[in-house]
Symmetry: C2
Subunit: 664 residues, 2 copies
């Protein structure tokens, strides 16, 4: 129903504030140091000018900070503020009719048209006098001076100039009728994460495969030896599958066999045994102390450890005895195992989130997270979050981040788009994506446009994985080493967050379970003996890509992606630009792992501020090659066996000394 206005004289209207997610139900996501640009449709009846303000404050602060908003085209106004601290900020918008600036503009027009403006003048002086009565000290002084000058000025042209000065308009802004300010009806929120939430390179290993004796269960202590290589490759997050005791009942054997052989280590996701549950360390990996030592060693190498949160149990988990009410029991007295009929997952027992004892269950699961945070972990990769209630995650993440705003949660939900988006909206910091199944130029462009230019851009931070222990995509099965190079380059440059499961990746392991996108002899069910430095491995290439990411701010964001033109559909061309550092990259990837592909690509000269016909320099950061181009359209050729990817650093202004140093 139309609502009666509180004061019918509030004439400014504020609509369509963005960013805004689901009417303000969820915060938008940014990282510390980000500039939050806010737009709104703001207008009023008639021809009067408006003033608009963007307000913000850190949650919990009492005072609001305010910034002016500026009109763009089509009644859109824009303003911005910078977020520096972790946690939540609030923001909203206000606007009102700026009678004084309207008067200034009208006066100018009338004077220019040769009209008699004496009466107009007295209208304006009256407004100034009224403002003067309530002006603060400094303002009062200046306003008084200006008023006097205006009254004394005999030359009408000079008086009009003085009256219409921007300084006077600004001074008057604060002293107009404040009761008639329109306020946007909602206060919106930004959640500010640390920078790693927006840019991270993940590496996943199974520590148990890194014992000193091939084929035997490795320990954290032994696994420390992998840290230097991973650090040298340039990763900054080391993610470990669950490190807890593994169930014995119905333990899976090699290749997901329902029956295990003696010595089979079992899937780390079948959590819990008589040795403990989600807060315990698998004895074969070591003790809690060893884990803490591993954490600390990793930190020395610039690596943060990410743990796996898999809220499910093996048949032997202590929860089954201690909290039987958290599980679903069948009429025959057996516990309900996981299933997706007709498939059965008999080594896994799901928690029953519909238990009447749900508050205790939620608290216990929160205590698991807090326990690991207390050990020094602040990144969690969450297993299958889409099989637990959304309300639970919203509560859990909210509670944890309230105390620990630095914590990062990565959602491992490979499911329907709206489910994945909801998890991101309700609080997950980063999200797995469909990247593994987007290969053609059209697929990649369409998917990236969706992620970076539509709703999800404000809440869904993609984390691109070309492989995982669960996923060996078809293209890696048939594309050979070039496919591994291509997919890594795409992941590392399209998305500022990406990761690989290694060393299967660097070693280009490509044997699938026949007919499936899964690894044969998966490390999930057995201990592997990796020959990490085998010829043809990708360690140097990966190190180079991660180095390029580290040195180029343009690659440390995702939403700054712009696709560029190329006449060969096998070549994907895109650019990334970082405004603050003026860092501009143009990236070309041959999507065909088998053939040379050549094509003409268009360099967006206008955007780069390069005049047509002027030479400009490019440095291919992958091949360390220099080019001087003068045209808008230029030919490139990419050989998948040599280097299917070029990352051009473009320096638009050739003539400064620095540039010569850099390029020559």
């Amino acid at each position: 129903m139309p609502k009666q206005a509180d004061d019918g004289r509030k004439r400014a209207v504020i609509e369509s504030v963005s960013p805004e997610i689901d009417g303000g139900r969820y915060p938008v996501k940014r990282v510390a140091g980000d500039r939050v640009r806010v737009r709104a449709d703001i207008f009023c009846d008639g021809h009067d000018l408006l003033c608009a303000r963007l307000w913000h404050r850190k949650n919990g602060e009492s005072d609001w900070q305010r910034f002016s908003m500026q009109p763009m085209i089509n009644d859109i106004w824009e303003g911005w503020f910078t977020v520096t601290e972790l946690g939540f900020y609030e923001y909203t918008v206000s606007a009102w009719v700026d009678h004084f600036r309207t008067w200034q503009t009208d006066l100018q027009k009338k004077f220019a048209a040769g009209q008699d403006v004496r009466i107009e003048f007295s209208v304006g002086l009256h407004m100034m006098q009224k403002a003067l009565e309530q002006a603060r000290e400094g303002d009062a002084q200046r306003l008084g001076d200006l008023l006097q000058s205006l009254q004394e000025e005999k030359d009408e042209s000079l008086a009009v100039g003085l009256a219409c000065s921007p300084e006077l308009g600004l001074l008057m802004e604060d002293y107009q009728e404040r009761g008639l300010v329109s306020k946007y009806p909602r206060i919106l929120q930004v959640e500010v994460d640390r920078k790693k939430a927006g840019c991270s390179a993940w590496y996943e290993i199974f520590p148990r495969s890194w014992g000193y004796t091939p084929g035997e269960h490795g320990t954290f202590k032994e696994c420390e030896r992998v840290l230097p290589d991973i650090a040298e490759m340039g990763f900054d997050v080391l993610y470990l599958p669950p490190i807890h005791p593994i169930g014995r009942t119905k333990r899976k054997g090699k290749n997901n066999s329902p029956v295990s052989e003696p010595g089979d280590p079992g899937s780390p996701w079948a959590i819990g045994s008589e040795e403990g549950g989600h807060k315990a360390v698998h004895p074969e990996l070591g003790r809690l102390d060893d884990f803490r030592e591993f954490l600390s060693k990793a930190r020395e190498h610039g690596l943060e450890i990410a743990l796996d949160l898999a809220f499910q149990c093996s048949n032997d988990h202590p929860y089954l005895r201690e909290h039987p009410q958290w599980f679903r029991w069948r009429p025959d007295g057996s516990v309900q195992f996981a299933e997706n009929p007709p498939k059965k997952y008999e080594d896994i027992v799901p928690l029953d989130f519909e238990t009447e004892d749900w508050p205790a269950l939620w608290q216990e699961l929160k205590s698991v997270v807090v326990f690991w945070i207390e050990q020094g972990v602040s990144i969690f990769r969450v297993d299958n979050p889409h099989t637990k209630p959304f309300a639970f995650w919203e509560w859990l993440i909210g509670e944890v981040k309230n105390e620990h705003p630095e914590v990062i949660f990565l959602s491992e939900a490979f499911t329907r788009p709206k489910v994945m988006n909801r998890l991101a909206k309700l609080g997950f910091t980063q999200s797995y994506t469909y990247f593994a199944w987007r290969n053609s130029r059209q697929e990649l462009r369409q998917y990236m446009e969706e992620l970076t230019k539509t709703g999800p851009a404000d809440f869904f931070r993609p984390n691109f994985w070309p492989n995982t222990p669960d996923i060996l995509p078809e293209i890696l099965q048939y594309g050979g080493r070039p496919a591994f190079v291509i997919r890594l380059a795409l992941a590392a440059t399209l998305s500022s967050n990406y990761g690989i499961y290694g060393p299967a990746y660097e070693l280009c392991v490509a044997d699938p379970v026949p007919g499936k996108e899964e690894y044969l002899n998966s490390e999930k069910y057995e201990i592997k003996d990796w020959k990490w430095d085998q010829a043809g491995n990708l360690k140097d290439f990966i190190a180079r890509m991660n180095n390029i990411r580290r040195e180029n701010p343009a690659l440390q964001a995702t939403n700054n992606l712009e696709f560029q033109e190329c006449d060969n559909p096998n070549i994907l061309v895109y650019s990334k630009y970082d405004e603050e550092s003026s860092n501009y990259l143009l990236i070309a990837v041959n999507l065909d792992p088998f053939h040379n592909q050549a094509g003409w690509i268009r360099v967006p000269l206008e955007q780069l501020g390069i005049a047509k016909g002027k030479p400009y320099l490019l440095m291919d950061l992958v091949g360390d090659e220099k080019h001087v181009w003068t045209e808008e359209w230029n030919r490139i050729e990419l050989n998948p066996h040599i280097s299917p990817v070029q990352v051009f650093h473009i320096h638009a202004h050739l003539r400064t000394e620095n540039d010569f140093d850099y390029f020559m």
Copy 2:
């Protein structure tokens, strides 16, 4: 901030309900008899099945009606309800996990996979027993019978069939855990208008030009003579410029001259003189009784009178004396006239909506509307609503429609898109548009897509005017009679609401003020003597178009528009379909007023259910010609001087007796 869930076990999620305008701030618009389709994204964690309901009620009713929603693709669910009464309806959505149907589906899959389902069976029987305890009488009987049959059935296959029956699923729907229903957090609104709000043909005249003596001021009584012709042309709304006393001070002369000659009648929009203001009838038109008589005569011809609401005053309006506080006074004691610097409109004084006495001003203006409603008027064309505050209109329209939901307000705002949209959102029933300036195929397609397929489709009802007394578009100035035919055909078939200013339109009057899109010797400032039946007039063509509109429900809606393909960019092809009556029209318009244009057009056979290669019949309702086509692509040719438009009625099913009658 993430909010703690009320009951953490509510697993269903409801998002993105549509239609919804600005988070429910405004109602969506429909007309009586419409089916309101509601969609929402609905899903839960895991694989369980859901149940979703759409709830609605007429405002003021205590009981909600509920309908099931059905899942479409991509987690979108759809439901609908029908609105029959004028005024507001509320609607919202609920959803919950349907454990019983989940059980049915799982049981079926397990049984099909040859698994032992005895334990599953007892789980389901237990659910049925619990439901039986709370079932209503009829349901209890049936549920009890089914439970007994299931318990007694010895054949497992038959038992599974019985257990999985849709009837049982439906019966169980109501008796599942009701506490765990998720409700969409907002209650949304539909405003239901009468059918004429959605489909109307307007005709605008200046009654004063229809006196018996050419050049002399006509009266309502004399003007009654135009009613038969207007009715015969098929219009159903007759819109009159303001009928009130016209000011004398600063009265405008012919061609908007700032000085009037004796005898100049003045602009009807300069309202108010010593003879009265907005509630008075201009004495030269007659008395209030004469106006009422005119209303009643018009009604006899099927014509509703629309009055003009122009909330502004001449210098002589009684308000200036009686309520000086409603105006803005200049320091020299003169009243502030209307201006858009440096332009001055000295015959018009705007009301000051920022007066402290605004509540009394609002009430007075409402009383004007109510006064004319009491005389029998229920359609208002509102002059320049964008120069009065939005809050005022929202209040005024809300107040009036609360008592008189049949009233129609047409917004005459030719201004920026967001301002026009806001006026529509806040309550205007119909709106003037940019149609007058959309001529090329691309312009028309783009504009129509915006109006019918994006946000405005739910709140902005376009009313297409190819001319008004203020607007003589360029294309009518240079395009000759064919342009008038083309533009009328477009207006009448693209939009279900349209109107013309006549007889300037039928007579193809095309003389502009040089360099402007305005009429030379405009009727706004002088009394015209129209030779209405002059050779070449469009009365018959207009009558035919209005007749086609009346006989074809497909033309009585706007959002049902779909563009179709044609290889000639000078020809615009589109279709309109009415589901209920299966009325399908394919319309082709030659946009070029000078040349024959021919092209191949694609008939959407699949949508029409016509098998490829089967013959189908078309009747051109404009030319009364029949065609049999068999192909998807067909050639047409449109001569602008004969008939630049064809409206094909397509009958897909040729072989029924009726069709032969119709076509042969």
